[in-house]
């Protein structure tokens, strides 16, 4: 690219292509490129090398410049519920988060709220072991709301700072399963004022536009307060989170960058915008 080159249509198209390929969605991508055109005009930008930088700014603007922290203000304890469709990384993310919070000096307890899937309880127990935290569980097939209730009592009795509740994967189209989630939430609300303090929707970075619908429906049913975007160690960008922030104002709080206990980071919009264009 020579410095005397003009900004032409090709540059805008190239950038739109990068956005679409990052799962930003075709409509949001077009809107972002329109905003970029306006900025180019307003700021009289002549060097195409500046286009990318401006676009990253626009992305950061939507995602929020501040790092959104987890809500750990609950008294006597903070309760997190982790939700999402099947296979996205809920149980693994909980293991990582337990490790992180424990390293920060918090007393963490986990609840094995997936009483349905084969070996789900075993899986969470192994993570609890790795992180060095207790896991409250019932038998397979138990009512998840009963597990949640028990876990809240146990967490309170053991003076835990944070209780993280795992739930079974469920497609947002399954009304009965979304009702089950609402029931789990109601049980928690009744036991601790202000709870749950965080409802984390786990989204898989390889997911396409269906993630927007997931965020909408889980948001309506469970009151989602933040997103954990997993599998960013792959090549997928998880660009749907831009539309989700713009339309639903739900921020990304955590990202998963691998399968190990340490592979969890707080979301950083600047780093994310950079990676989107790599």
């Amino acid at each position: 690219v020579s410095f005397t080159k003009q900004i032409d249509e090709d540059f805008f198209e190239e950038l739109e292509e990068i956005l679409i390929q990052g799962d930003v969605g075709v409509n949001t991508s077009m809107e972002l490129v329109e905003k970029l055109r306006a900025q180019v005009k307003a700021r009289k930008i002549e060097d195409p090398a500046e286009l990318k930088a401006v676009l990253k700014e626009l992305v950061r603007e939507i995602l929020g410049e501040e790092t959104e922290s987890l809500n750990l203000t609950g008294q006597p304890l903070s309760i997190f519920v982790v939700v999402g469709v099947n296979g996205v990384g809920k149980t693994t993310t909980i293991g990582k988060l337990a490790h992180k919070l424990k390293a920060e000096g918090k007393k963490v307890i986990l609840a094995a709220g997936d009483t349905f899937r084969a070996a789900a309880i075993d899986q969470l127990e192994i993570w609890g072991n790795r992180a060095g935290v207790d896991v409250i569980k019932h038998n397979e097939g138990a009512d998840p709301a009963a597990v949640a209730f028990d876990a809240v009592q146990a967490a309170r009795a053991r003076k835990a700072d944070c209780l993280i509740i795992d739930t079974a994967g469920r497609l947002h189209t399954k009304t009965n399963l979304m009702e089950e989630l609402k029931k789990v939430r109601r049980v928690i609300e009744r036991e601790i004022p202000g709870a749950p303090h965080e409802v984390l929707l786990v989204l898989d970075a390889t997911t396409g536009q269906n993630a927007v619908q997931q965020a909408k429906i889980f948001g309506q049913a469970a009151g989602v307060t933040g997103i954990a975007l997993t599998k960013l160690d792959g090549t997928a960008k998880g660009g749907v989170v831009i539309s989700i922030k713009a339309e639903l104002d739900v921020p990304v709080k955590l990202i998963g960058i691998g399968e190990g206990m340490e592979d969890l980071r707080l979301f950083d919009a600047r780093e994310y915008a950079e990676a989107l264009f790599e």
């Binding site: 296979g87 070996a119 269906n210």
Partner: protein, 292 residues
């Protein structure tokens, strides 16, 4: 859906008399948007658009009284041709056991699908053996063992301290000595860009020479579907694809991307969490789901 959008596009143009190339471009734009919204990969959308452009610029459209319907017909024809016919057979080996290996990204549904496939093939008269080849994920072996118990289908395991290559080898020997004629190997989820883990699959393949390597893909997969399918196919060789979680409302454009780029057939559709929720994949139904 796309049909209505195209009708509206052409309705607005009706009063103008003869259609121009610019008008057709507007219609093609609607098709492109619909495909992107359905998560069809960029590369595939581009090539699909180029393919139908020529037909759409022809006299059959420009002089038609119902151009909207004509365009929709062209789109449907091309999409159906791309998706191919129904191919839901597993190649059965002339000398047992038939060996099937399931591969794919993390969380796609491999372990659950292994159980479903064993269930289905037993109904077709096979004596399946499930193989616990995931030695990494916490409780992965237990997960497959629980499914095996639920189905009353044997699960071969050597624990999580042995290499999956040795486990696969041991499973074949076990199948041969115990009259199991269909071996289904569950493998750990992995990134297509993880060289070490992709090598592991190549080593398993070299050791037990599977008759079918099936790539398990989540129906909600977005743009990365092409890259994933291409990489698995180029590095390992994929005989077919199983698309899971089709009981949701993801449009499933990944199906078109995968078929268009690798040419491999999508053989089965995962339609739920229960072990009987595996159906043959119907390409024509998928085509209309993608178009919305």
């Amino acid at each position: 859906g796309l049909a209505e959008k195209l009708q509206n596009t052409f309705k607005k143009l009706r009063g103008k008399g003869k259609l121009t190339e610019a008008d057709i471009k507007e219609a093609l734009r609607e098709v492109r948007l619909a495909l992107f919204e359905a998560d069809v990969s960029f590369k595939v959308v581009k090539s699909f658009e180029n393919k139908i452009k020529e037909r759409c610029m022809g006299r059959e459209i420009l002089e038609s009284l119902t151009p909207g319907q004509q365009v929709i017909k062209i789109v449907n024809d091309e999409l159906t041709e791309l998706m191919g016919g129904t191919q839901s057979k597993i190649t059965i080996a002339s000398k047992p056991p038939t060996v099937v290996m399931l591969v794919g990204l993390q969380g796609a549904g491999k372990t659950t699908t292994a159980g479903k496939l064993a269930n289905l093939l037993r109904k077709q008269g096979r004596r399946p053996l499930l193989v616990a080849g995931d030695v990494y994920r916490p409780a992965a072996i237990k997960q497959l063992q629980v499914l095996g118990q639920q189905l009353d289908i044997p699960v071969f395991s050597m624990g999580d301290g042995i290499s999956p290559v040795a486990i696969a080898k041991g499973a074949i020997e076990y199948a041969q000595s115990n009259g199991r004629d269909l071996v289904i190997i569950d493998t750990a989820g992995r990134l297509h860009i993880n060289e070490e883990l992709m090598d592991e699959l190549k080593n398993i393949k070299a050791e037990v020479k599977p008759h079918e390597i099936l790539l398990v893909v989540d129906a909600m997969t977005g743009q990365v579907a092409v890259e994933v399918a291409e990489t698995f196919n180029n590095q390992l060789g994929v005989d077919g694809v199983i698309l899971t979680k089709l009981d949701g409302d993801a449009r499933g454009g990944a199906a078109l991307s995968i078929k268009a780029i690798t040419g491999r057939p999508i053989k089965f559709a995962g339609m739920g969490e229960k072990l009987d929720a595996l159906e043959p994949f119907y390409p024509d139904r998928m085509a209309s789901r993608i178009l919305g």
